[in-house]
């Protein structure tokens, strides 16, 4: 373990697809145990930003360090660092051909080289924690969206990550299932997990986030303490965005 305060350091990140700049000189430090919520209009680059943090999207410029360790710029070389950062996707992305238990064990066994028994024990204890112990033999398609997303969170947690990234984890869910997923995330936040969460659930932001990042057109426009951000956003763009999203 590293004693540095920052768990995630992002410096001067820029990325473009062809001629289109998607991220422009983005910098952000996330402290150990901190919860940061990222919001912003559609297409502002939030998903791209989160994917760059664990190196699954290559970047043109900038530096990323996780727990004091620089992320190699080559995606293949970044696998080891990447395994230490959990990621949860909008569409769950559970492996449909594997059971719940196999989903949670796959990377434990093949990346962390845990024994099958060890991996299964870990998986079962985490599944119990999210109330899905009885689903270990099910296949993803046999579960509700909320259950699938909780299992996706478990799959990430099973790797003992130092930080967790979430990209709109509830926006593909039916309204009645959003609560169960947010509850798991809130508990994680309380336990001190370092989290970066892209979400439009401002209720979650208010309850769990230490700071809010507002992005627009590939730029980090504003970073503010949560209470401040909602009470008096500094930028005009953030104010406009908030007024739109909160009146919905």
């Amino acid at each position: 373990m590293n004693d540095m305060v920052e768990m995630i350091r992002i410096e001067g990140l820029s990325k473009s697809y062809g001629d289109v700049a998607v991220l422009r000189n983005c910098s952000l430090d996330v402290a150990r145990g901190e919860v940061v919520v990222i919001c912003g209009p559609s297409g502002s680059g939030k998903s791209t930003f989160v994917k760059c943090i664990n190196g699954i999207e290559p970047v043109q410029a900038g530096r990323i360090a996780i727990d004091g360790e620089n992320l190699p710029s080559k995606p293949a070389a970044a696998a080891r660092v990447r395994a230490r950062v959990g990621m949860v996707f909008q569409h769950f992305e559970l492996y449909p051909h594997l059971t719940v238990l196999e989903n949670v064990c796959l990377a434990q066994i093949h990346v962390l080289k845990r024994s099958r028994d060890e991996a299964q024990e870990k998986a079962r204890s985490l599944l119990r924690r999210v109330g899905l112990a009885d689903k270990e033999a099910s296949y993803p398609a046999q579960l509700s969206g909320g259950q699938q997303q909780r299992i996706a969170i478990v799959r990430a947690l099973a790797m003992d990550p130092v930080a967790m990234l979430f990209d709109e984890p509830t926006s593909a869910l039916d309204p009645e299932m959003i609560g169960e997923v947010l509850a798991v995330m809130l508990e994680l936040a309380r336990e001190g997990m370092t989290m970066v969460v892209v979400t439009h659930k401002m209720g979650f932001a208010k309850a769990a986030a230490d700071r809010v990042v507002f992005m627009d057109q590939g730029e980090i426009v504003e970073v503010a303490e949560t209470a401040r951000f909602f009470a008096e956003p500094a930028s005009e763009r953030a104010r406009l965005f908030l007024s739109r999203i909160l009146t919905h």
């Binding site: 664990n54 699954i56 996707f89 992305e93 296949y139 398609a141």
Partner: protein, 238 residues
């Protein structure tokens, strides 16, 4: 029509034996060619889907070359032309010392031709697995090879079972082309029975029934396999 039917001829010696040998040869050529087609085609399909630059150019060229030249011509090229193009010693070895050169050539030609078609199907199957799956696999720290092995290929193979079945049936039927370079497979043997006995109708009917029976068995087997590996909770695709 003045034709003296005599089904009994099919059960007389040596004609029954010829039919049996023909069936055995057809199966042997088909299965051996299929082993080449499946392994090489999968390899090329995987590289074609995942690579860029030189590798993709190479896989793309293979696919275009072997898929677009008629199989009959390929068979002739491998049998008559390639031995002449090779260094002299190798050419002589191919023609003189290689046991059953016509059978080996037929297997190789059929295998390489079908590999190009398998590659296209495998690449399409991998492309049909969502991008999010490979992203999730890589995000968890799996290497590219592991992501293919544990996440992408198992899903892609389920997707390509139906087209693979028809590719196998195609290889099976195409094996009859091997008679043009002297392989005594089923069609050649029936032709031989016809020229010895003049009972061509019976012989060709027998061949038709055999081809159809085996095709039906393969189709049934593949349907069973497809059902067996289908992913629980997903509605079966049509």
């Amino acid at each position: 029509m003045n034709y003296a039917w005599n089904w009994g001829v099919l059960f007389q010696s040596p004609y029954l034996g010829w039919l049996g040998q023909g069936i055995a040869m057809t199966l042997a050529v088909s299965v051996a060619a299929w082993v080449i087609a499946l392994s090489l085609g999968t390899l090329i399909g995987v590289f074609h889907s995942g690579a860029s630059g030189v590798v993709r150019l190479a896989t793309g060229s293979y696919i275009n070359l072997f898929r677009n030249v008629p199989l009959l011509l390929q068979m002739f090229l491998w049998f008559f032309v390639v031995p002449e193009l090779l260094p002299k010693a190798a050419g002589i070895w191919l023609k003189r010392e290689l046991p059953h050169p016509e059978v080996v050539t037929a297997i190789v030609a059929l295998g390489l031709f079908t590999a190009s078609r398998v590659a296209v199907q495998v690449a399409a199957g991998i492309a049909a697995v969502s991008r999010g799956q490979s992203m999730a696999a890589r995000a968890s720290g799996l290497s590219t090879i592991q992501a293919y092995r544990f996440v992408l290929l198992p899903q892609a193979f389920r997707i390509v079972i139906p087209p693979m079945t028809s590719e196998f049936l195609t290889i099976f039927k195409n094996s009859s082309i091997a008679l043009t370079i002297g392989v005594y497979e089923l069609t050649a043997q029936t032709q031989q029975i016809q020229s010895f006995t003049y009972q061509g109708f019976e012989a060709f009917t027998a061949a038709t029934v055999v081809y159809m029976t085996i095709a039906l068995m393969v189709t049934t087997l593949m349907t069973v396999i497809e059902r067996k590996v289908s992913i629980p909770g997903r509605t079966a695709r049509g």
